[in-house]
Symmetry: C2
Subunit: 224 residues, 2 copies
DNA sequence: ACCTGAACACCGTTCAAGT
DNA sequence: ACCTGAACACCGTTCAAGT
């Protein structure tokens, strides 16, 4: 009577690099960085841990591939209609969102890595910096500053959500931090106390874009 | 004849949280993040791994303590003579240097951690932002942007030097990356190719400060 | 109160053996 | 060519036992 239940739920596709990376991203998203295990991955793919090594050299490459899979779609080509400023905001927001949904990516990103997925981002920002009319000698600095800022925010956001049990309410967490800021010693932390309220109500994305605009303002000021 | 050689080289100080954290920092600096092991640490301290747990709850706290030990001295109180801009540059440079000598700190830093060593940095920046004459409603944004930028650069630098065998010549590594940039497909990466030369010769610290000045310029522009 | 070090429950990675 | 899964050399952490 239970004999027929053994049939697999769905036909087993062959193992492939693509499936492995996809499963790795899922695992990282749901279980966090510590959740990505060759054993857990193997179980999800209904195979043994050794099989994965046929398609991927090791954990480092797996993480790099997962990072790439998540960043690449975030970098859409610029809308031809957009102003350089708008194009930069769109690009920045793309990475911001990607790192927001996948908090584990942040630490993986390095621009100096030889085939970094950030190269596309840097290129995109650089072109718009050029379109803004920044002279050649100042372009590298301007593009780097924008990149660094974006990665800094994303990294902080990611670190913040990593330090919290996955699925915790973001607003609640922010509120708790704001509370602790409001309770700081006024003698040592007058400024931080003062802005605790702004931390509590602030909109991550709007705050992020305000920072981008601050840098764009500095770039524009340099052109005058 | 060999009997007397067994005397310990130096008198063994008692184990303490301070000694443990100090040894952890040394281990992290010399052997990298993967080098920090309870066994390696125990060996350095001439004890068993279990002994460490009497003074420290676990690896997470150990890393946090090591991070704090490295960041705290980098945040000196502002020179009373300095302009707000200068004070911000000094502060920024302090963290930059700390993260540069200790590349493993970057990923540990989160502002939203309840007792983050970054709180002091944020407070310091915030005060100077206030001194610049930024209106209250814009201070949080300005201070956050500066913080994020600083952490972004530091994180990138750290990630860069982490991806390289410890002790490798920095200039050589930068040169190699610049070479690979210069060889990029001109159709897809015209901007990055163009600035490859600037990456090769650029001065990390000067570039970093130029970015700080860009944000300060944006803040100043907002005041006009 | 503080330290010891064996033991437990994990890891990433390898590899002989299978198909 | 691709997969299996036991085995190896590690981890962080615990804990009975010592001083």
């Amino acid at each position: 009577m239970a004999t027929r239940e053994r049939r697999p739920e769905r036909r087993q596709e062959p193992l492939s690099r693509e499936r492995i990376v996809g499963a790795a991203v899922e695992l990282l998203d749901t279980a966090g960085e510590r959740g990505l295990t060759f054993r857990a991955l193997a179980e999800r793919l209904a195979t043994g841990p050794g099989a994965i090594y046929w398609h991927v050299t090791g954990k480092a490459e797996l993480l790099a591939a997962a990072t790439d899979a998540v960043i690449a779609p975030a970098v859409a080509p610029a809308d031809a209609e957009a102003t350089p400023e708008q194009a930069i905001r769109t690009l920045a927001l793309g990475i911001f969102d990607a790192l927001d949904t996948h908090p584990w990516v942040g630490p993986q990103l390095t621009l100096t890595e030889r085939h970094s997925p950030l190269l596309r981002v840097f290129e995109g920002i650089g072109r718009q910096v050029q379109a803004l009319g920044v002279p050649e000698s100042a372009r590298f600095t301007a593009a780097s500053a924008l990149m660094s800022y974006i990665l800094g925010v994303a990294g902080q956001n990611a670190a913040g959500s990593r330090s919290v049990p996955p699925g915790t309410d973001r607003a609640a967490h922010l509120g708790a931090v704001a509370d602790s800021w409001a309770e700081l010693d006024p003698g040592h932390y007058p400024f931080t106390r003062e802005v605790a309220g702004q931390l509590r109500v602030h909109d991550d994305e709007a705050e992020f874009l305000a920072g981008v605009d601050l840098i764009l303002g500095g770039i524009a000021a340099g052109l005058r």
